[in-house]
Point group: C2
Chain length 133, copies 2
């Protein structure tokens, strides 16, 4: 795979002791709802650009992670933006189902109201029906 | 200052060797444009919630940073969301001027097109006129 010249611009971070990570902010390409954010390493970014499907690096499992691999809730890349200091990318995607493993369309489904978090998101699937182990 | 119960939910990360950081994604409260992302420590998050003006922790300067302190481009908090795993917050804000130190409305002013980055953002101020040292 030809390496995108994008990499010349990027400045990776170290997160929880793992080097070489970029921040990915993911937004619905039509509604502009922020769906999630996660980290990517070089490999997952390359795969994302090559396949046009979002791939991440899971800092908890310490491994490559294709979004939707088990749930089917894939994210098709529509456009890619890079921030001024090169440590973050913004992806506008077509989200199948929901982005959040809790069953919500967006991972940001809790809103702070009067010092409490209340659910303010659209639930689109039942996790226990989707993540069958 | 009374500490928000929000902190019970949050799970900070270590970034570039600095512990106790949360990721802040910042979105225009009307247009839903993603303006920037940055990190916060507990203190900057407390100040943000108390003053309703965005404060961050600069990982390069290793210090608290009130957005707009030198440029005047403050960000007034309209609503706050927390993601499912508690390491990221989404702030919907009213942005004065532009979020980006390069003079653009959003820090994500470069779009990847045919393996090249091209400017795809609205320039709203001239940095050298704003950041006078």
């Amino acid at each position: 795979m030809k390496k995108s010249s994008l990499f010349d611009t990027l400045k990776p971070r170290s997160v929880d002791g793992l080097d070489g990570l970029f921040l990915a902010v993911v937004q619905d390409y039509k509604s502009d709802e922020v769906l999630m954010c996660a980290f990517m390493d070089e490999k997952s970014l390359e795969l994302t650009l090559e396949t046009r499907l979002m791939h991440y690096f899971s800092t908890s499992r310490r491994s490559l992670w294709k979004k939707g691999e088990s749930s089917g809730n894939i994210q098709e890349v529509k456009s890619v933006y890079v921030d001024c200091d090169g440590d973050a990318l913004l992806f506008k995607v077509k989200q199948v189902g929901g982005a959040c493993h809790m069953g919500y369309r967006s991972c940001f489904y809790r809103r702070l109201a009067d010092d409490k978090l209340e659910v303010d998101g659209v639930k689109v699937f039942e996790p226990k029906e989707v993540y069958v182990d």
